[in-house]
Symmetry: C4
Subunit: 280 residues, 4 copies
């Protein structure tokens, strides 16, 4: 049998970009008087350098990506959002100040949704939007808020390796194993060094091979302040170049993946056994 992918392809691969910049730091330290600049400047690398390098790389590779942009980033960096839109990339919701949804309750949940949506629209993006949760967490309350907007899909959970329904809303799942921050982010005092870029992209190459093997979906995620740095960008570009011409892969934005499964709901039915093809 063949999987749920377009005729002639064997898997779906989407390249997504969480354009957080300084917002997670600013949120985590809200209400504090004194600024400590180390992490802040490190995160400013994102809008200052990283996002432009990523956009340029995508242009060179002729690849469309999905950018998830906190409202505050759209307000403070409209030029970046404009560049995303004019290049034909998807722009989606990602909170307003990158507030983890488990930190919010009651009206704050919908307020954040409304403010972030307004900020994206003010920057020129037009909905309906897809959604990715800051910190890739979710609460029941936030889930209801997503359905109320409504968003076209969520892309924050990890319960499958194919698009699937959670309480009636389409989930286009992510995976820690293909999130650059998990491997590269260095937190002072954490005693955990960044992984070498070559080692990470070798692992991600296997992720792509495995998506082909088992006819699954792979949603890669990077952050401009992390993977926009030179060595990581170089390794990433080599990885993408290697697989972009592969006829077995359907390269699509997260929104395009969501659209395919929304348009043809029968594709969501997965047989329990004999997933993937029979001849390894």
């Amino acid at each position: 049998m063949s999987g749920p992918w377009p005729e002639g392809t064997r898997c779906g691969v989407a390249f997504s970009v969480d354009f957080d910049g300084p917002t997670p730091y600013v949120w985590a330290h809200r209400g504090e008087d004194r600024r400590v600049l180390g992490e802040l400047e490190q995160r400013r690398f994102g809008p200052r350098r990283g996002v432009w390098r990523v956009l340029e790389m995508l242009e060179r590779l002729d690849l469309k990506a999905s950018f998830y942009v906190p409202g505050m980033m759209a307000i403070s960096h409209p030029d970046a959002v404009e560049a995303m839109l004019s290049a034909g990339h998807e722009v989606g919701l990602h909170g307003h100040e990158h507030e983890p949804v488990q930190d919010l309750e009651g009206e704050a949940v919908t307020e954040v949704m409304d403010r972030s949506l307004a900020a994206l629209e003010a920057a020129g993006a037009t909905g309906p939007f897809g959604y990715r949760s800051p910190s890739w967490e979710m609460t029941d309350e936030a889930w209801q808020a997503l359905k109320a907007v409504p968003v076209t899909y969520d892309s924050s959970l990890m319960g499958s390796d194919l698009p699937y329904l959670v309480d009636g809303l389409l989930e286009v799942p992510v995976d820690w194993a293909v999130d650059d921050a998990v491997f590269y982010r260095y937190v002072p005092g954490s005693n955990r060094p960044p992984v070498a870029p070559q080692a990470l992209t070798d692992a991600w190459a296997l992720e792509i091979e495995a998506a082909k093997r088992y006819e699954t979906l792979l949603v890669i995620t990077i952050h401009p302040w992390i993977s926009g740095r030179p060595a990581r960008a170089l390794a990433l570009e080599k990885l993408l170049e290697r697989f972009l011409g592969d006829p077995d892969i359907w390269w699509a934005t997260v929104g395009e993946v969501a659209g395919r499964f929304t348009d043809t709901p029968s594709l969501l039915e997965v047989p329990k056994l004999h997933t993937g093809h029979d001849t390894p």
Copy 2:
């Protein structure tokens, strides 16, 4: 001299599967009002996708495995237990809600044992059963409870690289170095990235080579919500394919290993020196 393995083989290798799914999360958060969905959905990958991919792989490889199933998983996923049994795999005890034994005292110890046993039987499994402790911990109290059931063996401790007796009960030892969770599980905020699948299976290949070299036992353990993901499944399948035809290896379920040493207790006698063969 030759080791305690069947004529013509040099070591024993067992492939075991801890089918936890969401139970460890549910247990750890028992009594809490609010659900945070990130880890929960990640764990639901196990029964939703991972276990079927693992079962299919085992069928393709014609390999019998030992599945340790918490009672609650047998109740909520009887189709998975049925598939294990009908394919000829071993099904063993693994707590009821994946309660670490050091969290239990008094009657709770035996209650958990009774409930988990009843749940496995209700799902069609027939005892006597082997046992693997959730979290691979053990207390004196839990040990006495195991002997009272009685179980045919325990497979939770690490005191040898051959089956051995602990207070009269047979231990078929495990090892952190061949537990996938140790290498792959990502805990947000932990600052520890998952190991690349190729790197892990390279290390496990050496584990198998070393078992042959020193004529020891190797009990590999995976979790469907972790190693059932595509890249890890692909690397694992390649590893198993490489060694399944090796005539030096006795591939057996944990229960079969236990049976061999229970039937012939003299095999448990290990000389202190000159373990392993003399010609490297």
Copy 3:
């Protein structure tokens, strides 16, 4: 277009050395009665063995480096400072007792600056000096103190991969990915083993290749008590040998990099798109 580097080169690479020795330990444990010698002796390896091995290596390679020296180290090890200066290396400010700037407030900020400056001058170094913050942190208060000295540049933040201005002062940025301590330092109880030297210098080789590819700046940092150990020194020497003759690289001290951009401020203007050259 060509980047901001000297005619015929494509990037800038600086090799810097934070000569901390025991000062961070002494500062962290100030006011304690009892000494625990393990980490202290480990850090004493720096002035006892490491710094001499590094100096010798630099002499053999004919490479000029930038040494950042806490005032207390200049006082206790004047012979090391003398050797740095007589070999033509840059010597810069690095606090007095390696006090993280976020631990200081009010007059303490400027006192530390004054004392460390006096100690470097007493050891024979002549200003104006460049500055690197202990722990690579910064506060607004410390930034004002730097501008008041004034220092010729700061080299402690990570907001770009090219020199840039922060509130009117030139920043020559560093990066955790090219700081040896992040990868090699072992803290007992941290459960994080040191990275293998070959693995680190392989990653750093990619960092240099990427600087060439994107026409950026790379400021490598080592610590004598860490990278002065034999295996790390050997791997480092091989890395430097490999790239020292590369005509695409402008090897310079951090002070020389700063001087170039201070002399020609127009080099600080970076186009948002099309950074780096067009033909990969």
Copy 4:
């Protein structure tokens, strides 16, 4: 110039074994009523299996090692000590119950020393002994106690890569980078997986090459409950086989290294510059 090593050799390499077994766990949990067996059984692998595999390997390789044995281990496992002695290995002091010296004060410091010394002698070892501190820590008080015994050397600190004097007592230094526990030990909940054996012995091979290059000392340390496991033993044996015939290396016990520098104190004088030979 040539280093402080025997004519025709370029470095010293010692292989040492800390035979802790369960003692660190028992000490850390002293006074507790309830036993949790996981780590305890894991550590019992040392005297049950690991130490015999290590002894057998050393016999096969014809290599003499230095075993540091807590008094309690000598009392509970006299057969292991007897095997060490009869094979010609060095046996040295390592605390009584593996008490970290920073946990002890006043009379307890000397009491532990006396008890551990008596236990080694009761097991057939004859002094004077060398000493290695449990946990590789040291206090001023413990240092005075060492000098009072007196011990022939200490091998617990990291302040040089050659033997050196600390307050009149000879230190034969160790290094975290060549301690197996740092790389292999898995602590549940730590989120740090063990390093692959091949990766560790590749790094250690560079350590040996670097000792040859810089004419330094390398003291490797393993623990039987950790490196006595099959895959690690196999990788270790391959490493030792590779370098045992190397004419540039003086393989010696830690005691023999100490003896050489005690007999010829002028060897302790190290020139600041031009350590190591001139032609890489």
